[in-house]
């Protein structure tokens, strides 16, 4: 059976019927002819088993295994297989014997058992395989997600240009380092580093090269300060976090390593780009400090390093910082102090050396600070000049002096004039003349009762504006005095050009009068007085403390004196009492 005359295998009538029965019950990955050949082979196995003695049921299992292995794997395929074997196998193959029904039943039972078993195994294998695939896919998806999360986290925490940690990551790490739960003895340090004049690199080479120099600098920094965290805060500012410092020396060493790493020129695109840096160092115990404190201190210290000329480091100094901070606070409080009326004026007499009469008074500003008490001008005028608040403050002093002086009347002739200091910024400000003019109109103070004191430095400008303003003021009849004459450049040229009416000679020339070494001072004073008189100027000597000094000054020919000998600065009431 199954062997055609030409030797080619070919399916018999039973195998063909079997193939027809199972075709289409599931997808068969073979041609119909291949299916017939397979089933012919299985037919031969079954026929042999039915003939053999004893009946080998394992043949039934084997046939079932092969069917399932060939992907003949449906319930229908089993049903039709049982049916076609039972109906046709014995007849088509002529397998008659006494116990054939019995043998057939047992063999079919073995086929059905083997098929169910093989199909179950195959199903379980396939289920397991697809679950494994699903799990793999999920694991891969999670890995991809984690990788992309990690990428996003990195981007969120790093500077895109240099790939250094950014401000966010630095803030996190600093907060963790300063965390209160850390041991109380733990110390921490910061190096706040800024490249000196980096803008120049950008300006001369362009931003592209500037950026690449920044990247190179960042890489060097990172290597130089390892394992400490170095972050780019933006621009050309970096910060190194030194955790678990054992003392200032640790952090200074880090700063020096950083400066050394940056000292070699970077070659970018054939350009030698040399950068230096300044570092502000702060190092302290973790207990009692905060990230904000540390950063602020490091920032101030960096500023000190910069003002010291750059290319170096500065170490935080609490005392210096305290002073600067106090000055800062005081300066910031000036506008509110003006608004709340915390400033007031004292007046110091300017006394005639000829007859002892009160010629004028100098207005001196005081600040009744709510916390610090009454402050003298040396505590706050410098600050106000630095910040520009002097314009506002000086304007108030001028107005207040005019307002008070207009009420002074004298029973014995001309009431005293009031002398007010004008700061450089006030003189250089356009609109000064207008301001003074309207002030005089508003208060009714005669111009000749107002004297404006300017310093020599006011005139040290190439601009014509201040000179023109002073001329206009002098033309109104206002007196113009040069304050502290003899301590600055004492440029005689402006005595010729300016409408000055008086020289106030600095107290240091007066102090030495009547002592053996005072000969030079006395000669200088005498020359100044004769020079002034030759130019039609009057001379007031400042800092007159004794009667002897007053005597000498009078002998020299000096016109007026100011100082403790003639009266300390006092309230307007005292002045009024003096002129009545």
């Amino acid at each position: 059976m199954g062997e055609p005359p030409d030797g080619q295998p070919c399916a018999g009538v039973f195998a063909r019927a079997w193939a027809k029965a199972v075709a289409g019950t599931s997808y068969l990955p073979m041609t119909h002819a291949q299916l017939e050949l397979l089933l012919q082979r299985l037919t031969d196995l079954l026929a042999e088993a039915l003939r053999a003695e004893p009946l080998d049921l394992r043949v039934g299992h084997k046939v079932a295994d092969e069917l399932v292995a060939a992907h003949i794997v449906s319930a229908e395929a089993l049903g039709r297989t049982v049916e076609v074997i039972q109906l046709r196998l014995v007849r088509d193959l002529d397998l008659v014997s006494d116990d054939i029904e019995d043998r057939m039943a047992r063999l079919l039972g073995a086929v059905a058992t083997g098929y169910a078993r093989a199909l179950r195994d195959r199903t379980l294998d396939e289920q397991e395989s697809i679950r494994r695939a699903a799990m793999t896919a999920r694991v891969e998806a999670e890995q991809a997600l984690r990788a992309s999360e990690a990428r996003f986290r990195h981007q969120a925490n790093h500077d895109p240009l240099t790939d250094l940690p950014n401000r966010t990551l630095f803030a996190e790490r600093l907060a963790a380092a300063v965390d209160g739960s850390a041991g109380s003895g733990r110390r921490v340090g910061l190096c706040f580093l800024d490249l000196d004049r980096f803008k120049r690199v950008n300006d001369s080479f362009g931003h592209q090269i500037g950026d690449r120099a920044l990247v190179a600098a960042a890489q060097r920094l990172r290597r130089a300060v390892e394992p400490h965290l170095v972050a780019r805060l933006g621009g050309d500012a970096f910060v190194v976090l030194v955790e678990r410092s054992t003392g200032t020396g640790d952090v200074v060493a880090v700063a020096e390593a950083a400066l050394a790493a940056l000292s070699e020129p970077v070659v970018v695109d054939g350009h030698d780009v040399t950068v230096t840096a300044s570092v502000g160092i702060v190092e302290r115990r973790v207990a009692g400090t905060s990230p904000d404190d540390l950063m602020r201190a490091a920032g101030s210290t960096l500023h000190w390093a910069k003002s010291a000329g750059g290319a170096g480091w500065a170490l935080y100094d609490a005392e210096r910082d305290g002073r600067e901070q106090a000055r800062q606070e005081l300066s910031a409080a000036i506008p509110a102090g003006l608004e709340r009326g915390e400033f007031f004026l004292d007046y110091q007499p300017l006394t005639s050396l000829h007859d002892g009469s009160l010629l004028g008074v100098e207005a001196l500003v005081r600040w009744r600070h709510p916390r610090l008490g009454v402050l003298r001008p040396d505590k706050f005028i410098g600050l106000a000049e630095e910040t520009g608040l002097i314009v506002q403050l000086g304007g108030w002093v001028l107005a207040e002096a005019c307002r008070e002086a207009v009420g002074w009347t004298s029973t014995s002739g001309q009431p005293p004039y009031v002398s007010v200091n004008l700061a450089v910024r006030q003189v250089r400000r356009p609109g000064l003349v207008q301001e003074v003019r309207s002030l005089l109109r508003r208060t009714g103070l005669p111009p000749n009762r107002l004297q404006l004191e300017i310093t020599e430095s006011t005139m040290m400008t190439t601009s014509e504006e201040p000179v023109r303003a002073l001329r206009a003021l002098a033309d109104l009849g206002i007196r113009i005095a040069i304050d502290d004459f003899g301590t600055g450049y004492s440029n005689l040229a402006y005595l010729r050009d300016l409408p000055v009416t008086e020289l106030k000679v600095a107290g240091e020339f007066v102090r030495g009068l009547r002592t053996p070494e005072a000969l030079a001072d006395e000669r200088i004073l005498a020359s100044l007085v004769s020079l002034a008189h030759a130019l039609d100027l009057t001379v007031t000597a400042e800092g007159v403390e004794t009667g002897g000094q007053a005597e000498r000054l009078r002998a020299i020919g000096c016109d007026a004196g100011q100082g403790w000998h003639f009266g300390r600065p006092a309230s307007p009431d005292h002045i009024l009492a003096r002129i009545r």
């Binding site: 599931s26 997808y27 041609t31 992907h71 395989s129 697809i130 695939a133």
Partner: protein, 249 residues
């Protein structure tokens, strides 16, 4: 779902539930799947007979039984096959099955982004684009909407092929369907993640633009070079139209 119709167990409860719903709507659904798979088998055999040794099977799904490499390597052991599928589970499963077969590769890409497929390093490593190959887009185009420009996708693939290459296409078609059946089948697929875009014979023929269709052209898949005359009977019940085109020159 497809695997379930083919009699496999590489499937999940949700697939089986959808598959059974589909059978309720379209009783011949398993037959469709089987006919389509048989078409793939005959087409790959035709291609190996024609001397093709490189295959790019896009939208290969979960390869269960009768995979391209099994058929091709049975006839021509030096055949190389790259499987492409968008579904990560299908890709993971393919990798498992193909482990150890160094003439196959699997990549996770989308048919709608043919440039990415063509540029993929694994594809470039396995297939030589200077030599003819077969691109198989079998039983997957009906998942590509017109908005995703299937014709353009196929043009992009064609442009990368050497003369003498082949394109095998099959997809669900509503040619000769009645309205009720069409609506019901579409409704079932709409409830899955994969809406169905059935197309006419003319549209499918249009996708072969630039190729010469080999005999018998675009037909119901059982009619494509059937092994026996009986197997092509009632061919439109298979729902899938298919065809093979050759790039001339």
């Amino acid at each position: 779902m497809y695997d379930y119709y083919l009699g496999g167990s590489h499937n999940f409860a949700v697939d089986r539930a959808t598959a059974r719903a589909m059978v309720a709507a379209v009783p011949q659904a398993p037959l469709m799947a089987q006919a389509n798979r048989a078409f793939l088998r005959r087409a790959v055999q035709f291609l190996t007979d024609a001397g093709i040794r490189q295959f790019l099977d896009i939208g290969s799904g979960i390869p269960t039984v009768g995979n391209v490499h099994e058929i091709a390597q049975l006839h021509a052991p030096d055949s190389r096959v790259v499987y492409v599928d968008v579904d990560p589970v299908a890709v993971a499963h393919s990798r498992e099955i193909l482990a150890g077969n160094d003439r196959t590769a699997v990549i996770q890409e989308d048919l709608r982004q043919p440039d990415r497929i063509l540029a993929h390093p694994d594809v470039r490593a396995m297939l030589d684009f200077s030599q003819p190959m077969a691109v198989l887009v079998v039983a997957v185009l009906h998942f590509v909407s017109d908005d995703d420009r299937p014709a353009e996708v196929l043009r992009t693939l064609r442009a990368a092929l050497a003369p003498g290459s082949y394109l095998v296409l099959s997809q669900a078609s509503d040619d000769g369907r009645d309205e009720a059946e069409r609506a019901e089948a579409e409704e079932v697929y709409r409830r899955t993640d994969s809406p169905l875009w059935v197309r006419s014979r003319a549209e499918l023929t249009g996708f072969f633009d630039g190729f010469e269709l080999v005999e018998p052209g675009v037909v119901w898949v059982p009619q494509w070079r059937p092994e026996t005359p009986e197997s092509a009977e009632d061919a439109e019940r298979a729902v899938f139209l298919g065809g093979v085109g050759r790039l001339g020159g």
